[in-house]
Symmetry: C2
Subunit: 402 residues, 2 copies
């Protein structure tokens, strides 16, 4: 018994049948004696429908009015879920973001949570209500509706769990946990019982897409114990927390990311400040850079290679070419690459991890274009067509193939 | 130049084309130098769609959650209209009921407005914004969303006009004003330039259905000048105000109402208190009574006849029959009747009005079952099948047939 925060995404409440399914999960938790706060997103396609309506009017609508529009989506889903919970015989109350105390800054469509004033939620919990909260939304100091941007409902759930000092924050998804690799593609992929925040962050960044990164960062900061759990399959999920039980496993998972474009600057003059100028120029244009490699080239020149998401490929090339010092250097991009990574907090003390990964790739004749490492991950860029084969080979090397 | 409140119903903003049409009307008013507050309802079928979703979950949803659900409807329409106004180059800001200062009691789904705190609206008007307000909704003292019930957006508009001391409150509809009779049915029906609150109230009660009664009552109380005006046809509408210019017209209009059931109690014992007991019993059951007639019958008995809407017919008969003193009196109902009325503030000083009406009906061989009069109206109950013929005949008698 304790205080549980449960979060359900848009597909989990897409229609009446699924709303009732969520209501059953919630009331089961409540009937076991727990206090329950539920955070929900807008129903399935509601968000897309609302965006379509707005686009019929204009393609450059103000973000303030877009947030007003979008916030109606969760308002519908919280009311319906509260009705469904009441229909199952438990007391419920729905609260909009602002009623639940979400105070944000004023960056419309991508607001940051400043604080959660929990008085109202606490009062309702004291009254033994199941509290259904609209995720993704808050109120700024002008008393105007804001939204947190994509993935914001995960963050709403973690913020409430942190503010209420909840015993656990369960993120319900259509998968039943975090796996060592994509179970639909890799034979022998295993579900993890536990994983650390840092490992989860690396996995999310690397394309595992189970949890929104921002929510994991917040969970780490406030030490909120997360559980990634299935809304369809009633088995325990994967716990995300600060430290995990000692396990033999050095590597937590193998991931791939095909949304990668490799930008190369070859033969730029080898003088100080080049890297600074390149990457500050990219930052100014809001282009996120992932892997960065710099190598000395020939004849007093050097080469810089970095990766961006494919959406930013063209703009990145254009803004590098526009730099005055680029001169005769060649700038070109390649989006037929994929990033394959192994993640695991244990690897930094085990130097054999990298060579085991490279050996597995070599064994399948896969050429490594670029290598990048951090304390808890090793990433390689390879030809996109080799990606699935590479993940399977690396996974088998670390986890076997049973 | 002045401060104008404009109200648009759900059909006026049903799709993008109509939202743009509304935005043009609003911006035209603004560009003439007026301050403009716009009150809108939910888009066309949104309300019905939301009700359908709720009914899929349960047929006895709590009213608090229904109000939370329904309030999402206007949130969508105000955001879209604000975007449309901005698209036409004028500054706009949308405000939810609570942001616009609507404070209500806690009767969910039929809340009454307690006050409108206009600070926010005034600030936005001072900034030369067109303020787009969600009609139909408010906030109670528990900080929960409430709705005002059907027709509530008219009331929202009048309440804002009253609180801001606006120069005029324009209610846009799909008709271009108030007519002496239904122009689709009666040849020679004329559009009125002006009409008093009391006359409008009688017309509304009698089935003209142009304006919500509650909003007219509020307009009368706070002396808000109303204009019933077309959102499609850009001509002046009908002004509703306290006193109108002296006009020759004794009668403002002729209306009919077919949603009438006549309940008869024949032969009840003639002792004091019978009428009191009958009508207090009906009131206890929330049954609204319109015309009431009581006549002495025979042998120390009397007869009571009254009318209710057809939806209440069965319940009214049942609850009368259950009264202990009814004894052998006969209770029966008839819903094949219609009420035809003439309305006009001038008629009380002109005794010829009633006889002129009765003569017109007699001329067409129409039998009058019941007559009821007030200072500004004369109503008769007749056979339903004669209703249209009766309206035409009476209208011709007062207005000619040109």
């Amino acid at each position: 018994m304790g205080l549980i925060v449960q979060k359900f995404g848009g597909s989990s409440v897409a229609n009446t049948e699924r709303v009732m399914n969520v209501a059953r999960i919630v009331t089961d938790t409540y009937k076991k004696g727990n206090d329950v706060v539920v955070v929900v997103s807008a129903q399935g396609d509601t968000t897309d429908d609302l965006i379509a309506k707005a686009k019929e009017i204009s393609h450059h609508n103000s973000k303030r009015e877009m947030d007003m529009l979008m916030a109606a989506g969760e308002q519908i889903s919280i009311a319906l879920l509260a009705m469904a919970i009441e229909e199952l015989g438990c007391p419920a109350i729905s609260l909009l973001g602002w009623q639940a105390g979400f105070r944000t800054d004023s960056v419309y469509s991508a607001a940051r949570i400043k604080k959660v004033e929990t008085d109202r939620i606490k009062t309702e919990l004291d009254n033994r209500k199941i509290v259904v909260v609209a995720g993704f939304q808050g109120l700024n100091k002008y008393q105007d509706m804001t939204t947190l941007g994509r993935g914001g409902s995960d963050t709403s759930a973690v913020a409430i769990a942190a503010a209420l000092n909840a015993d656990r924050c369960q993120i319900f998804t259509d998968v039943d946990g975090v796996y060592t690799a994509d179970p639909r593609k890799v034979k022998g992929a295993r579900r993890l019982q536990e994983i650390t925040y840092d490992e989860m962050l690396e996995l999310a960044t690397l394309g595992a897409q189970v949890l929104n990164n921002r929510s994991v960062e917040m969970a780490k900061k406030y030490n909120v114990e997360l559980e990634v759990i299935s809304s369809l399959n009633p088995i325990p999920g994967t716990i995300v927390k600060e430290t995990t039980k000692m396990e033999k496993m050095l590597v937590r998972g193998v991931t791939k990311d095909k949304d990668v474009s490799k930008i190369s600057i070859v033969g730029v003059e080898d003088v100080p400040g080049i890297a600074f100028k390149v990457f500050s120029q990219l930052a100014k244009n809001n282009i996120n850079v992932d892997i960065i490699l710099q190598s000395v080239g020939r004849d007093n020149t050097k080469d810089i290679v970095f990766t961006v998401s494919m959406a930013n490929e063209e703009e990145a090339v254009e803004c590098i070419k526009a730099l005055p010092f680029i001169g005769d250097a060649k700038v070109f991009s390649d989006n037929t690459v994929a990033k394959v990574s192994v993640v695991g907090a244990g690897m930094e003390t085990h130097p054999g991890t990298a060579s085991k990964m490279f050996e597995a790739l070599y064994g399948k004749g896969i050429n490594i274009q670029t290598i990048s490492t951090s304390e808890i991950k090793i990433s390689v860029l390879i030809d996109e067509k080799d990606a699935d084969k590479a993940v399977s080979a690396v996974h088998e090397a670390f986890f076997g193939n049973d």
